[in-house]
Symmetry: C2
Subunit: 606 residues, 2 copies
């Protein structure tokens, strides 16, 4: 199928040592045929695969036939036919659990693995493109045999393998050393293995009964995370959810349950008018800002989570109050207190404060201690959204940026961002035990389940808002085992070192301008690139308008050339700028250099 | 690592055809050494793997050394040492992106694949146990080298491979032909391959920019599903969510937005008192019921979703009104109308009706047409929760059970249940275009994004409640390609045939009693098994109490023996009964026979 790789498998139950003494082994001297024979002796599948592969590669068989001096032809032909895997005549119905399905199943899975391991290898090869961009209409029209339409009749497994290859071909290599577009980047091999295993186990976190090992891994890992946060003895509760937005939604629900438990049964009308607070840096451009910049960008959407939660949970987005930030994007505590006092004066009840630990664009860390003081004073729930910044807790050098996090009532922490765990892997952690279950349980507390033979306190279903829940823990647990806490620390320190390298490189360099002054707190480096034609223009609206178009143009050229990817967006009254983030373990200084070179190359003539 | 399988890989970039003419090829006549030579010629890794494998298996090397007549020993030793993969001295840090990491990466991934393919093979082998049950405290204490605790220092890759094996060993084989415990069972090989690829691609459904192919696949698949539902031209909207509970939550949010859009900004206080309706069969045991049965069971929790949504979204669970059902578990339409009238009389606004298509316990299908008539009459949103039953739409023989589904305003449909797609894969489908986006978008409608180079209407992020969103579509799309619509139909028809077989087998058989009369609508077959000691007892409380304990006891014995798994629960005033469900493509009549034999064997002396 793929001309540059062969994958050979044996699932034989005969130890090779006994085979080695067998009659087959003695045939080795017969040359190529014997090689197939060895394969056959070791396992029929091994031979089958070799032969199938050979047939697909330029009719090697014919070349072998002509080498009469090397070969003993006895019964090779029949073995050849018997052992070839021709996927063009095989279908999904021929795989397990079909009768005799084991052999084609193993062959098919290994062909898939061949495709995937090739993809993995190439992902780390800098000579490979990050993406091969096509417009939606191009992919929808069909690309050389890659047809997305679904049909009534089955396709052959050969076509399925082609579809797998094409899916990867037209996708984006998020693990490529030069992919910097998202907060989640990289392709961790241990995490990948963990996901493969998780898919193979294909179970559900709902009960200990059907996910005993995974449920315990989740429990232990959450406890470890709470210890790292600094809650005494790692006490508390938590759960893995399908992403940061849902983790943040949990935090708002739990806070509401803590202060107004009757809302669960009676609805929001049972509570006074509740207000929530979060940074203006995690929210939508206002209409006024829109009028200035004439655009918005998707990056903003990433941190709508508290706003989305306000809408979904019945608070209303107008009851989410945005807090002013300093020039570095950090919430100003005095602004929180002023707005709390104002809300109370208007008859509202301030209930929930979200402190962002690592904002999406600037990578800013809100001052948690000062916000915690105000929360305590006014009896509000303090949530720390560490979806992006939580990973820094693993680093002795950088964890001070979350100083005070131990005072939070709840914390969102996405290992799938800064810690390089494959998506999805997000935890919501809660300091007080019982409120998570109390909030979501639909079993009255007095009910018990005496008829299961194990301790059902391990069942997690009733504290989740989900019923079926994907196993997100295993890949993370496995990575932690494989790297150790120090491995995560090294990864984080390295990424922050790289962003420091970028910052020092471009600060003051001709053609670059930083969006805010001073060393970034996280790996976010925000900057404008000014092409030569713009540099010397006088400040003013015309320059702003021109500059606003630069990042989008460079980005479009980047995607078309497929060499690297980095995000951009406006922020407040600042026109479009590049937001570089580094979470990719494959990135090196040379990739940072490549990025700036590429920006300069593509932006030269704009 | 595992003695009964060898896995051989070549990632060489040399086509084997050119290798065949090479010097290496001529060495084949040299026998075993040449075999390694061939391997080496084809790829160094191939040889490495063979040789590594050989060394681990009873010192074949020594046996070969003694076969002087077969072997030419020149430079074999050095090749041997060079090519062995000793994972005990390798760590995660040695894998890609590490320098020279490609070789250990490929070797490690292939060892993992070896573990996984062995697991797959054994899963379909009926001589393998479904599970090897251990209590939480046993696993937490550590089982022979399987230690769940996380540490600061990294473990070797050898230990990581052991951990992978042990994780599977102590887990539950949900794909085993005799696993009937959940609505999601089975291990589809194409779906599995799809998940492996998804993990390798490791991207996010948020934007077309980073998931071009997957975003289009989702769009096309959702359209196809809407066509199958029967919405004209497949028009409408939808999204894949992390499970049925969240899909159902979407439906309630969208309905609220449709009728009371101001709730999004102003909160629930902007709306009148809204009430929702759903079947009593999807809800919690009442306290009264609890007093009768003295227990509840986890199975109930599976369909708390509308109740959980009522609590989360600020309606309050008291404003969820439960509808009476007939003896088969189907909602009685007249009861809905009576309760709507009553609610209106109390000043409430009936807003949302959930019709269940395939209830969790009885597999009941509510009469959609009659409920739709009432919804139209009273201007209520009709949602069809087809999480479990939606798959029957793929069957010409059984889709009539969802007759009227085309009149629904929204539909939940979980391919991860009846269609055998790996967990998680759940769709929320909406008939009216625009309300899903309107409900969840945090971008004002007048905003546009002129600075991206592609059509951003393909970006899905703003209509989701999530930010990062896992790629759930690919495995489903790939299975559809591989099976065709008819393949899903065959699977569904087969499962229903099997449940018919079970039903006719045990109906009227001594020791069995059906929980409800008549042929089940879905694959749910609910029955009591009465051990001989109970059969002849007079009806009454003592018999009920004894019978109530039978299913839990049999289930516990089943789990301890590990032979099969099936669920049980009480329902209303009915004491614990078995709920058999069949969604497993590997199950056959012999497995059904095995289950009843096992129930009888384990229950004989109770």
């Amino acid at each position: 199928m793929s001309g540059d790789a062969c994958l050979i498998f044996s699932a034989s139950s005969h130890p090779i040592s006994s085979f080695a003494q067998s009659e087959m082994f003695s045939k080795i001297i017969l040359g190529y045929d014997a090689w197939c024979g060895v394969a056959h002796g070791c396992s029929r599948k091994l031979g089958m695969k070799i032969c199938g592969f050979l047939q697909k590669n330029n009719n090697l068989e014919e070349k072998i036939r002509s080498s009469k001096d090397l070969l003993d032809n006895s019964d090779r032909d029949s073995r050849f036919r018997r052992t070839e895997t021709d996927f063009s005549n095989l279908f999904a119905r021929d795989l397990l659990p079909a009768k005799n399905g084991e052999e084609p199943t193993m062959q098919f899975l290994l062909e898939v693995v061949d495709i995937l391991t090739n993809y993995v290898r190439k992902t780390f090869d800098r000579s490979t493109k990050v993406l091969d961009f096509h417009h939606p209409h191009q992919l929808l029209e069909g690309m050389e045999g890659f047809n997305l339409e679904l049909s009534d009749q089955p396709e052959s497994l050969e076509q399925i393998l082609v579809d797998c290859r094409d899916t990867l071909k037209y996708g984006v290599r998020t693990g490529h050393p030069r992919f910097f577009n998202q907060l989640s980047t990289g392709l961790d091999i241990i995490g990948l293995s963990g996901e493969w295993l998780t898919s193979t186990a294909n179970t559900n976190m709902f009960t200990y009964e059907i996910a005993p090992v995974f449920v315990l891994m989740e429990q232990l890992t959450l406890k470890k995370m709470r210890e790292i946060i600094g809650w005494p003895d790692g006490e508390g509760d938590g759960i893995f959810s399908p992403g940061g937005a849902i983790s943040n939604m949990y935090s708002v629900m739990i806070a509401r349950y803590k202060f107004f438990p009757e809302v669960k049964t009676k609805g929001m009308t049972a509570a006074p008018r509740l207000v929530l607070f979060t940074s203006e840096h995690v929210s939508l451009l206002s209409q006024k800002q829109y009028c200035i910049t004439k655009t918005t960008s998707y990056c903003y959407l990433f941190h709508y989570s508290i706003k989305k939660a306000s809408a979904a949970l019945g608070f209303g987005t107008e009851n989410l109050i945005l807090l002013s930030t300093d020039e570095r994007g950090r919430v100003i505590p005095a602004d929180l207190e002023a707005k709390v006092i104002d809300a109370k004066a208007r008859g509202c009840v301030p209930m929930f404060v979200n402190a962002t630990a690592g904002s999406t664009v600037y990578g800013a860390f809100d001052p948690i201690h000062e916000l915690a003081d105000i929360c305590e004073k006014y009896n509000m729930w303090l949530h720390v959204d560490g979806a992006w910044g939580g990973g820094l807790l693993m680093s002795r050098k950088h964890r001070h940026k979350l100083c005070g996090v131990e005072r939070a009532n709840s914390v969102t922490w996405n290992p799938h961002k800064m810690m390089g765990v494959p998506l999805q892997c997000s935890a919501i952690l809660v300091r007080e035990r019982g409120v998570l279950s109390g909030c979501n349980s639909m079993c009255a507390g007095y009910l018990f389940q005496p008829d299961k033979q194990y301790d059902v306190s391990y069942d997690t279903g009733d504290k989740a808002i989900q019923c079926g829940r994907h196993v997100d823990i295993f890949k993370f647990w496995l990575m932690w085992k494989a790297k150790g806490t120090i491995g995560f620390e090294q990864h984080i320190d390295k990424c922050l070192d790289l962003s420091h390298y970028l910052y020092t490189k471009i600060k003051g360099r001709e053609g670059y301008q930083m969006v805010f002054d001073g060393e970034p707190q996280h790996t976010n480096v925000c900057f404008w690139y000014l092409p030569p034609g713009i540099r010397d223009m006088p400040d003013g609206q015309e320059k702003r308008e021109k500059l606003h178009k630069v990042a989008p143009k460079i980005k479009a050229l980047m995607m078309e050339s497929g060499t690297t990817m980095v995000g951009y967006q406006p922020q407040g009254d600042k026109v479009n700028f590049f937001r570089m983030v580094i979470s990719n373990p494959a990135a090196t200084r040379s990739d940072i250099d490549f990025l700036t070179d590429e920006i300069e190359r593509l932006g030269q003539d704009l």
